[in-house]
């Protein structure tokens, strides 16, 4: 199959078109803007909808309306923009509307910077806005996965009637790699709940207001059951040489590729190192961690943040082994830098 060289943001946008995305609603923000620019070029000639919204709030609410019609719709932004979108995401989660949301993330808090980061992990994996909800979070690690996870994201969104978040470090949005273009997807989901005009049926209502406490609880229980089902079926992780590992690295996204290199180098130096790469950040692949904790001496959480995923690792390890952190912000560490951290840990644990 022929491969073409593509930028991560453009591969993601092309993936959305392959998945049958009918509308893009967005607002410019670095380092995600190429997604909107790509859609502005490609969608109108195909008769598809592109709207540059006046704000992130408007963009996510256009997604709310668009998703309510039953068509595949999306938005893309970065950290500060995602903060603004949280109101809408909470409504969309409760209205159970499928849609795709992208965070090409940068460092915070506040305006932070435009360098790569993973510090929106808490926001992404804890729902993000008000109320008791989650979104599925997919973390690609290559430009190919920017395309593939976007396609899968739309499928997951329709399968579970839930917003799906694709979250990637800014670097992954900006860098180029060869990509195999996937075949077009024909969305095949019945959406009898969609608001399209009530010709020939009773009116449909998309609503998130539940004034009766009993019904409000019923709705929350319903969402809880759905989230349990997603947890049971959709946890995904990749493991690398974990079976005999004394030190288990945990890293996601682009950083997981660097962690893999560091693991190989540490193995060459005689240290038994493995890697778990969460592919879904929510639901978090806790069982993979739990299984590794049966033999691992120590876990090392590698993050481009001051330590957020480490809390999920600790919950999964449940006290069976120490969990250490190596975190940077705005900078992706080199394989050598991570190897040094592994060797220091090996020395401390008496593995050298």
């Amino acid at each position: 199959m022929k491969k073409i060289l593509m930028k991560g943001n453009e591969a993601l946008a092309e993936g959305a078109l392959i998945a049958g995305c009918a509308a893009f609603f967005g607002y410019p923000i670095t380092p995600s803007s190429e997604i909107a620019e790509y859609m502005a070029r490609k969608m109108p000639p195909k008769g598809l909808t592109f709207v540059q919204a006046e704000s992130e709030l408007a963009a996510i609410n256009m997604v709310y309306g668009g998703a309510a019609t039953g068509k595949r719709v999306m938005t893309a932004s970065s950290g500060p923009g995602l903060s603004l979108k949280q109101e809408g995401i909470s409504f969309i989660a409760e209205a159970e509307l499928p849609c795709l949301i992208v965070n090409i993330s940068r460092g915070g808090p506040g305006l932070g910077g435009i360098q790569p980061a993973q510090s929106d992990y808490f926001q992404a994996t804890r729902g993000g806005g008000h109320g008791d909800y989650y979104t599925i979070v997919l973390a690609p690690s290559s430009v190919q996965e920017m395309m593939d996870f976007t396609i899968q994201g739309f499928e997951l969104a329709d399968t579970y009637r839930t917003p799906v978040l694709v979250m990637a470090e800014g670097t992954l949005g900006q860098m180029m790699e060869p990509v195999e273009i996937r075949p077009e997807v024909v969305p095949a989901f019945e959406k009898p709940w969609a608001i399209t005009g009530c010709k020939g049926r009773k009116p449909n209502i998309v609503n998130t207001l539940h004034l009766s406490p009993d019904y409000l609880e019923e709705r929350n229980r319903h969402l809880y059951c759905k989230y349990q089902e997603i947890k049971n079926k959709e946890k995904r992780a990749e493991t690398f040489m974990v079976e005999d590992a004394d030190i288990v690295l945990v890293a996601f996204g682009l950083l997981s590729r660097i962690a893999r290199k560091a693991a190989m180098e540490a193995r060459r130096q005689g240290i038994k190192v493995g890697l778990i790469r969460p592919v879904t950040l929510w639901p978090f692949p806790a069982e993979h961690i739990k299984k590794a904790a049966e033999q691992a001496r120590v876990f090392l959480s590698l993050e481009i943040s001051m330590g957020q995923m480490i809390e999920d690792i600790k919950l999964a390890v449940n006290g069976k082994a120490p969990v250490e952190l190596y975190g940077r912000i705005g900078i992706i560490p080199s394989p050598e830098e991570i190897t040094r951290q592994i060797m220091l840990l090996a020395e401390r644990e008496g593995l050298k």
Binding site: A53, I195, V206
Partner: protein, 247 residues
């Protein structure tokens, strides 16, 4: 026997929850009569606000969506862009539209978004218990302007119809009132004109309807209608501010 009046098809049989004397009920009925007369019920998608009319999805007998506070025009944009032949309308109050939703309404109008907005202005936040709105008149007492709205502290009431009429994207902008039968009739005509403007693809349309809130104004229903006539209409003049005709 000849039927001279009946419940519009576009209203459900649910009883309104509105306070005695509140004019939301009249405005709901006018919107429903217009949808009926234009044969639009099965083609219509309505978006309700946050505010007293948050439950409008129980009353309009067509597809409905309940929005976050102020965001109805953005949601309507998403729907209309994907279903351009549907009749998409929002129903919003003054706190919703002129305060927290100011960004969404101005840009929907600026884009010439082909939607219709029913804007109910009663100069106060009703559902939350009578707080000051951007439309509250100078001197008007509310729970958050207990000594009367002062221009030095809270500035001046916003005239939305005049403001949106400035936008090229606005095709039909009108202000009406429902304080007497003549004005009720005019309001119905304006709503029908707004919906027709949309169905002719001319651009953004809005009818600002001056409405009463006897409960939070602390007046009887009749006194409230008189208060509107004496205080609101002088500041919020009635009439058409923008009319784009089919070329």
């Amino acid at each position: 026997m000849k039927t001279v009046a009946q419940r519009p098809q576009s209203l459900t049989t649910a009883k309104f929850h509105y306070c005695p004397g509140c004019t939301h009920g009249i405005i709901h009925r006018l919107v429903a009569e217009c949808l009926d007369e234009l044969k639009m019920r099965e083609n219509a998608i309505g978006i309700c606000p946050v505010g007293c009319s948050v439950l409008a999805y129980d009353y309009f007998n067509c597809d409905m969506l309940e929005a976050a506070h102020g965001r109805a025009p953005a949601i309507a944009t998403g729907i209309k862009r994907l279903l351009p032949d549907r009749c998409v309308f929002t129903y919003q109050g003054d706190g919703d539209l002129a305060s927290i939703g100011m960004g969404e309404i101005v840009h929907a109008s600026a884009r010439g978004e082909n939607i219709s907005v029913i804007f109910v202005n009663n100069t106060i936040y009703g559902m939350t218990g009578g707080q000051m709105a951007p439309t509250t008149l100078l001197g008007q007492v509310t729970t958050t302007s207990p000594y009367g709205r002062k221009k030095e502290e809270a500035g001046y009431p916003v005239r939305m119809a005049e403001l949106l009429a400035q936008n090229e994207g606005s095709a039909y902008i009108c202000r009406t009132a429902v304080n007497d039968p003549v004005n009720v009739t005019k309001t119905k005509k304006a709503i029908k004109k707004a919906l027709t403007t949309q169905m002719n693809g001319l651009g953004f349309s809005m009818v600002e309807v001056l409405s009463t809130c006897p409960t939070n104004w602390g007046l009887s229903p009749l006194e409230a209608l008189n208060w509107m006539d004496e205080n609101m209409i002088p500041y919020y003049p009635l009439g058409e501010f923008k009319v784009r005709e089919v070329e």
